[in-house]
């Protein structure tokens, strides 16, 4: 949906999409392909609630890059933040959404590719969780399958700068050198507005809910491809991120999370009551 009368937050930016929470603009920032995310005020909300949510989410979005960078998960580099106006300008990652990648691979009958993308998702989410964070909105639209480095096609041109940034940020964790389309997909996570560092006492609950949200997103978006979620969860459980002896990155903590997911699911069934 487009709103023709909306003015771009920065000169030269053009409207890409109007989501539920804000507008997405595309343009260049200091010569690099950039995305500007503008969270607008919601007229239906109480002013204080609106201000609080906009601020909270803008800050969470802006912090994510550093938080994720520390744990080897690729997230967009933040160029500019203006909390008061709910604006975050960040790097534009070259690639397609995991949603698109899975749908296309599934339509093409490429089960190997579906599984590869799904496994990469599982491993990435495990890294986020093992570090004590939850994303808050784990849909496949919020994950980018990065275009292969060098020679890759950028989603919006100017791949050079962004691809270089990718190499720098993702740490050597899992990026295959000169990965090709057929190699292991490299993923990035975006849209951190609902993300948070989980309180220790709430860790299992928050992660369980995070996984439940992801499961729901898979079953509604990839209803015809149930094996994708299975592969994701298998990779999540088998991720190398759960290698600590104790604490949030331990295998024990992972098992607790997975059994908590069962409890969240059971809660879900129960709420389907009457009325």
């Amino acid at each position: 949906m487009t709103t023709p009368d909306a003015a771009p937050p920065l000169p030269g930016f053009s409207l890409g999409a109007q989501g539920a929470e804000g507008r997405i603009w595309y343009g260049e920032y200091l010569g690099r392909p950039a995305v500007a995310k503008e969270r607008f005020s919601k007229a239906y909300r109480h002013r204080k609630l609106d201000e609080m949510l906009t601020k909270q989410r803008t800050v969470a979005e802006a912090r994510a890059f550093h938080r994720m960078g520390d744990i080897g998960v690729r997230a967009p580099k933040v160029y500019l933040t203006d909390v008061a106006s709910g604006l975050v300008v960040m790097e534009r990652l070259p690639g397609v959404t995991a949603r698109q990648a899975i749908i296309e691979a599934h339509a093409a009958g490429d089960a190997t590719r579906v599984e590869a993308v799904a496994r990469a998702i599982g491993d990435m989410v495990a890294r986020v969780h093992a570090a004590g964070f939850v994303h808050g909105d784990l849909t496949t639209s919020n994950m980018i399958v990065l275009a292969p480095e060098g020679g890759g096609e950028a989603a919006g041109g100017g791949s050079g700068a962004a691809a270089a940034a990718a190499g720098e940020a993702a740490a050597a964790a899992e990026a295959p050198p000169g990965g090709s389309a057929s190699g292991a997909p490299r993923l990035a996570l975006i849209d951190f507005g609902l993300s948070q560092r989980a309180k220790a006492s709430q860790l299992l609950e928050e992660r369980g809910v995070d996984l439940y949200v992801m499961e729901r997103a898979f079953t509604s978006t990839h209803a015809t491809c149930p094996e994708a979620f299975d592969a994701t969860m298998e990779a999540y459980a088998g991720s190398g991120a759960w290698s600590a002896a104790k604490g949030p990155a331990s295998a024990q903590s992972r098992d607790g999370t997975l059994s908590h997911l069962q409890r969240v699911r059971a809660r879900g069934r129960k709420r389907m009551a009457f009325g």
């Binding site: 989501g19 539920a20 109480h46 949510l53 209803a223 389907m272």
Partner: protein, 367 residues
Amino acid sequence: MGIEGSANKVGVGLVRYTPPSESSSSSDGDGGSGESRGRGTYETLSNPRKTYISPAGQGFLPRETAWHHQKHVPALAKLALEEAGLSLGDLDAVCFTQGPGMGAPLQSCAIAARTIAQLAGVPMVAVNHCVGHIEMGRAVTGWGDPVVLYVSGGNTQVICYMAGRYRIFGETIDIAVGNCLDRFARAVGLPNDPAPGYNIEVAARKYAAECAAAGTEPELFPLPYSVKGMDMSLGGILSQLTRDGVKAMKDPDSPVTVEQLCYALQETVFAMLIEVTERAMAHSGAKDILIVGGVGCNKHLQHMMGVMCSERGGRVFGMDSRFAIDNGAMIAQAGILAFQHGTTTPMEATTVTQRFRTDTVDAIWRQ
């Protein structure tokens, strides 16, 4: 004929299908999807119902509710036929709510449906209660493809049609919104009559009006705002209110009043519902919203939703008792669509189920 009795309302409705006349093949002016083109008309002939109101200070319990339904369903069936000027011999099928809902009331109505179907010698059609709301809503609003917000005492779901089924995009991960409102009302001593949610709405409106008159901004008692992806959590709000909220309300030194709590509850919970609905709209590309279920009667929710929707250039449908509140005709409406596509439910399969997910129904009439 449709028979509904999954919660505290029991109703019997009659719906008649008239095929499009041959001379005017494009009879309905909505002209939208291929589905609606050449469609005949569905007319609700009668739709009487009764509501069981529980004693003050408690909710409706399965046994008493079932007794209520058992007592009224035969008379309602007779009345429905009488109002329509029809007899048993005119029926083509008897549709009943299979679930979700409270076991004993559902069962009572299923027995009534089986009896009537056998007396009339017609087949039965089992209907999912939520799908009943949706199809009646679509019938009344021109067969579009809206995002459905289903908010009642037992359900809080955001639903979109996709790939043959009504998919649940977002929902509560703990308690339903109506349940949250009812339990809060009970905790602060607001009456059940006419409905706890209505009394909360009135109290909140009073507070907002007082603030407007005084030219001040209404205070927002802090409550946890909890949206998780497309889902939401309401349990924390209820415990915050019944613990800190009630304490503040009773503290003579604190300015917090029950009206203020009602206001904060509505502002917070409804903002969450609308945010999730808007995300489903962005995701599905749908422009219109259909609000169904008892909480959908709340005018403030309607208003807030209208504000959001107008920003997106869409429309909100709600506040129509034909689909917002439980009734028999909506069960007949969903049932007749399935029936016209060859679905009937054999007698031995006419059991009821308390848990029956919206997305398990194969919506063959939409495929």
